[in-house]
Symmetry: D2
Subunit: 309 residues, 4 copies
């Protein structure tokens, strides 16, 4: 149930299912976990930004961890523990590990600016959660506004043996993957796993630049699984063909703010969750947007039968 | 133990006392509460930004509320409940009221931009905490980056009868006070209390523009109490004379980031708290900075004997 | 040579061609203008953000306007005149109109926050350039950080009869188009032209929501022209089929920062400009990136013979 | 007419005088230059942010440089050349030097984030203006949002022999001065001049931390001259006494946005300029604000007869 620096494949960013009234939907937590496992994912990441984590209170967060870990039966679960303060971060991290999580993910808070501030932040965070907890760096400048250069990422990796993985979602980000892998080649950095986010929008080329897979929440994790597998097997055209068939929908789902509504709508249509409700403040799809997603699904279905819903 | 729209005087933004090892210093919570009451404050605001609130976990936050409310014996206590999500906000707000707090304070999260986004945010927040909880709007653009125009503030006040007070710390902010009071004069807004923050840096003129007092954490709350009292009595020169004597230190303490270190250092020297430790990540005073504060205290002491330490 | 609120089709955002040494390439200005006209564009927009406008000095800017207007022989030219101050904005706007431009485009400066600040800015800008100069509002929050709600855009449109067009590149932005068209339907706003940017990433659905066309710089303006034409003719699947074939490259080109390097590289391959050099500070494609673009072109060429290069 | 890394004293940030109709007031340029020289300044900095530089077009900027240099008769003049692009920066820098300026000042553009981006920007800027032009780094995070650590500043200084001075206006900033002087002591950085900005709000302690003087626009440059002189002579209390007498007004003038209106109002009252008009978009003092400044002047005048107006 652990994950290490050689992890590859797809870690799905799991949604958090709610009932229409905003309460946690515990049944759907189980059903959704089953769905992801059936899709062939290597692991799951829960309580991430797209998992509406900041909308849960402390008890609810632990209930989600408990529910998913129990159902996942050995598949490694990573828990997003980013928090405004280290006491809350530590508390969630330690409890999650006690409940059987494989590790945690930490994003830098938006106020960080300089290289030194970022390196110091991770040092203090690891001090808080303990250096026995495997962790993932989340690099997401488009949303967080914090720019971590390859040199800064290397510093964090080398400072902390418990760092196992980079969730890469810089944009543009292809050169960053090449730079990180270059550090491994020139011996200045030990190897870590790199899984890519950003809804999968560049997964085709990210794999070719040296990524190990995806960590993102696109509503067809099974497509991501195939693309990663075929890329790793050097079946280039096959990987691109499937990827390109999904790209119009990938792009539509990757929109900031309403992307989660698209994702939950399709997950609901696929039977993974009972309702596409978001806890407030949430986004919702207009009738026009729903019709657009339906049209895109029809078009994807011409190539990928899994999109026949 | 309640506060209303006619509140005036000084609500001190209370520090949160820690031991050197970062644990909560419960003894000092009581001692500090006594100190503020001796200074003549009308109320206290706890768990604000300068109270290191985001560094506490949920249980610790409630322990602070409990400790201060019990000791304050009837003096109204306002609790900062700003949080990344409404579940945590609701939970802290309801528990605080159950413990005897007089109301809560809510700041807008940094990602808000447009007028509509801000108005909507407060509507959702009040829905979450309940419209029976008296609340204060915290308007602090220098730190939060959210700009609320007078029109937006008026909208929030008029939408929510439970809004009792504005913590005004815009900078520059004098014209905003005049604009808000102008809305009351032209009948477009009901009266609310306006208490001013920003370390007190403009308290002299804020009072003259129509503010009702201060809500800030300057290490001499007793000075703020005098200035507010004399301003309300139209003893203009007397108020300015005392204010100006403190201004070099007010300015020094109002520095972002290290201001809290200055404040806790002086509170410690005044016997209000046992240690000036901050929980990590915290700032600390260099030897040079400490000597500068000591020099400033000597200079203040030439006019105000309370600064003889 | 004028443009009005009924404009539709494609206004290509023109690149600015440089020699390898960073000097303006006047020959390529003519050749590129011919290229865009052959692609079937309705108009051209020059000196935009992707036209490296801020890197030119005042004389160079006018030389570009002169060169393009002369060669375009009656096709309307819009000139980006966004500037840190109104004196420079006025000077470029008036000179451009004297040289035969059809209108100007104005983006809000990044420091604007509140609704009132934005409305006031446009009032002052129009006062500066004169209300006889037709203008386009550029709405580009992803890059500029300024969020203009539909209500704010309507206010600007209604305040200024010389406003003829919205360059829409909000993201996500489909609902905004619907909202603006809704204002026209409910009679609260007069009709204006809406052309969409963002590299064309959502052009397929933007057309269906009511946009009149595209104003963007994608390296196959001829594809944009076809998609706009077929969408306006209700040939839905045909439009999507061509669009989807290009989408992998559209997405690649739309990357912030390196997008312009991709665009100039393909424009060079298509013979539109002699060199893909950018004036400093510029981005450049790595060998890996160039190979990726070449691969994407091969894939597009399977559907669109114009991509056989 | 040159300035070097041993510069000390006061470089006044000069206002740019306009007539009420927004045209340049050439008479006042001369009169104001005389005023600053009478105040005892060592040099002048023109076309800075508080000099309304972005509101001027290219010809007007050069007219200001010409007018001030001619009148200053040998006093070194530094010209702010920050610009959105290097072509405009180069053009203003070279022309200014040809007209007799002593050097230029360059601020980092607001979009810079990482250490490397900042160092690269200065390298490209110096390449553009030429390494024979003495330059000042402007470090102003409060306004620009760019955070330059001491290490980054050292890198720029060591990369560029033509760097002569740091205009320090970080806030809080005292430890930064100590850090820079520490680099000189430990031999890792050559000596440069450090002059402080931020309206002078911390000049008292900045001098004690190792600054060489002030570069700011406070409306009593003669006060700054005295404080710098006495600090350099170790007349500590005397320096603080005068500084503290002015501090209420210094603080009032240092308000973002309306500060320039205060400054021009007092400069007009002191006879330095004919009108306190700002070119649009500008701020203006309300009647209440003007009365507050008048009251503050009365209070300053109790200690400093130069404030009797």
């Amino acid at each position: 149930m652990s994950f290490n620096e050689n992890a590859h494949g797809v870690y799905a960013i799991a949604a958090t299912p709610f009932h229409a009234d905003g309460t946690l939907d515990h049944d759907s937590i189980g059903r959704m976990t089953d769905f992801y496992l059936r899709c062939g994912v290597t692991g799951l990441t829960i309580l991430g930004i797209m998992g509406e984590a900041p909308k849960l209170d402390a008890d609810e967060s632990l209930a989600v961890v408990k529910g998913v870990v129990a159902r996942a039966a050995g598949t490694p679960i990573i828990v997003g523990v980013s928090a405004p303060g280290f006491a809350a971060m530590r508390s969630l991290a330690r409890s999650s590990m006690d409940l059987g999580a494989a590790g945690v993910m930490i994003a830098p808070p938006p106020h960080l600016r300089t290289d030194d501030q970022i390196v110091t932040y991770y040092r203090q965070a690891i001090e808080a959660i303990g250096d026995d907890v495997p962790f993932v760096i989340q690099d997401y400048p488009l949303l967080l506004g914090v720019i971590m250069t390859p040199k800064v990422l290397r510093q964090i990796v080398m400072d902390h043996p418990s760092c196992r993985m980079l969730k890469h979602e810089d944009w543009p980000g292809l050169e960053k993957i090449s730079a990180m892998r270059g550090f491994e080649k020139d011996g200045s950095m030990r190897h870590i796993s790199i899984l890519c986010g950003n809804g999968g929008l560049f997964l085709d080329f990210e794999m070719e630049r040296g990524a190990d897979g995806a960590m993102t929440g696109y509503c067809f994790p099974d497509m991501l699984v195939d693309v990663v597998k075929w890329s790793r097997n050097d079946e280039r055209d096959r990987a691109h063909d499937l990827f390109d068939a999904h790209l119009p929908l990938v792009r539509y789902e990757q929109q900031q703010g309403i992307g989660l509504a698209v994702r939950k709508y399709v997950l609901m249509k696929r039977g993974a969750i009972a309702s596409d409700a978001q806890r407030k403040p949430g986004s919702a799809l207009s009738a026009a947007a729903r019709a657009e997603v339906d049209y895109l699904l029809t078009r994807v279905a011409r190539t990928d039968p899994r999109a026949v819903l």
